[in-house]
Symmetry: C2
Subunit: 218 residues, 2 copies
Amino acid sequence: MRQETIENYLKTIYHLSSHNTLIVSNQKIAGKLHLNPATVTEGVKKLHELKYVVYEKSYGTRLTAAGIKLTLDIIRRHRIWETYLAKELGFGWDEVHAIAEELEHVNNVKLINKLAAILGNPIYDPHGDPIPDEKGNIQKSNFIKLSEAKLGLNYIVMGVTDHSTTFLKYLEKHHLIIGARLNIIAIEDFDNSILLVCKKKEVSISSKASACIIVQTI
Amino acid sequence: MRQETIENYLKTIYHLSSHNTLIVSNQKIAGKLHLNPATVTEGVKKLHELKYVVYEKSYGTRLTAAGIKLTLDIIRRHRIWETYLAKELGFGWDEVHAIAEELEHVNNVKLINKLAAILGNPIYDPHGDPIPDEKGNIQKSNFIKLSEAKLGLNYIVMGVTDHSTTFLKYLEKHHLIIGARLNIIAIEDFDNSILLVCKKKEVSISSKASACIIVQTI
DNA sequence: TTATTAATTTAGGCATCCCAAAAAGAAAAT
DNA sequence: ATTTTCTTTTTGGGATGCCTAAATTAATAA
Ligand SMILES: [Mn+2]
Ligand SMILES: [Mn+2]
Ligand SMILES: [Mn+2]
Ligand SMILES: [Mn+2]
């Protein structure tokens, strides 16, 4: 199995299992990787042989300790590159994900640690996601999705779970960048859209969008 | 054909044809890429279909204009990364080639131009090789190999044609880095080894090594 | 020129990575 | 409990990239 194939599978399984607490279905993996489910059946079998996952037929897949270790290393490379591209090379937070998706597969420990050192060993990337350290330790947060926020309370934007340019550009337009403060003034029963105030302006956020915004109470 | 496969073939053909003046044999390509000659026969056929080369059966291969254009772009990416790794990230000239060999395949014009701009749009990489500009213009030099140097004359080291760590470490040991000045004091008829003075020390350089060192008279 | 040697190509095969369609299995609805 | 629906797996196959061994062609030596 090509290393790049392995890495893209593991990253997908990790994210779909929400930090490895859940078993992941073939269909979910297929959806994320834009593959046919039949292809994924083959893929997870091979990953099982390589001891990166435990795969149970007709049931699902979860990462092994070795799988988690490698995955956190890939995630580290990805997020360090995103941060370096944004902070040192002047790219926007909406541009860095696509480039990091390629750079992450260049596996050179000295290179990544050098970039991290230049950045001052950051703990968060430009989207608010935690960066694992060299040993695989990763910050765990008790942040919630904006879609789970409560009426009347104040929140601060901590991150996003969608890294697409279209979504990030949309957020920027409404000043919903990381660190932005907001107050929930209405939650529509009809479509679960959220009306909030940010930078003194009222914005209505669809439930689809609010499920991709990570916040913390203040 | 995978893009990475294409790029590694084209780069190899370019270098073997000494800047595209010669027709290249399958065996030479196979040697450089560590492939079986039979594999190369298939490879050059496909590159011909893609119009990157003209391949004539049982005769040889040369790059087309489109092939040269793409190749110079790959070489630009490779050499910009080598320079960035050395100048901005503190890697040694013996380390950068291997890392750049992977980074070169990440094709993002904005990224490479940003790196180049930070470096002040350099014209030479850490091994003294010219860096093509965005349009594919590349410095041509009338440098010679140390193996072609004449007795008694003084030279300055301008570059190397072997980027392996072992060779570059060997050069460093004898202070034969880029910019070093040297004087030829003997050329052995027996084995074509060259005796020279560099940094006030006498060094004997084998013909194999002297063929990989690029110099200019001073 | 003919024989020998070297380079190239062809033929057949294997591994990887992917797909569509059919078959089997599991889950949900009636 | 049976049917319907959804998911997963199996089967068979296409494309790429590589190999070895055999056949062909070209180059060199005798
Ligand atoms: Mn990302
Ligand atoms: Mn990736
Ligand atoms: Mn190099
Ligand atoms: Mn390469």
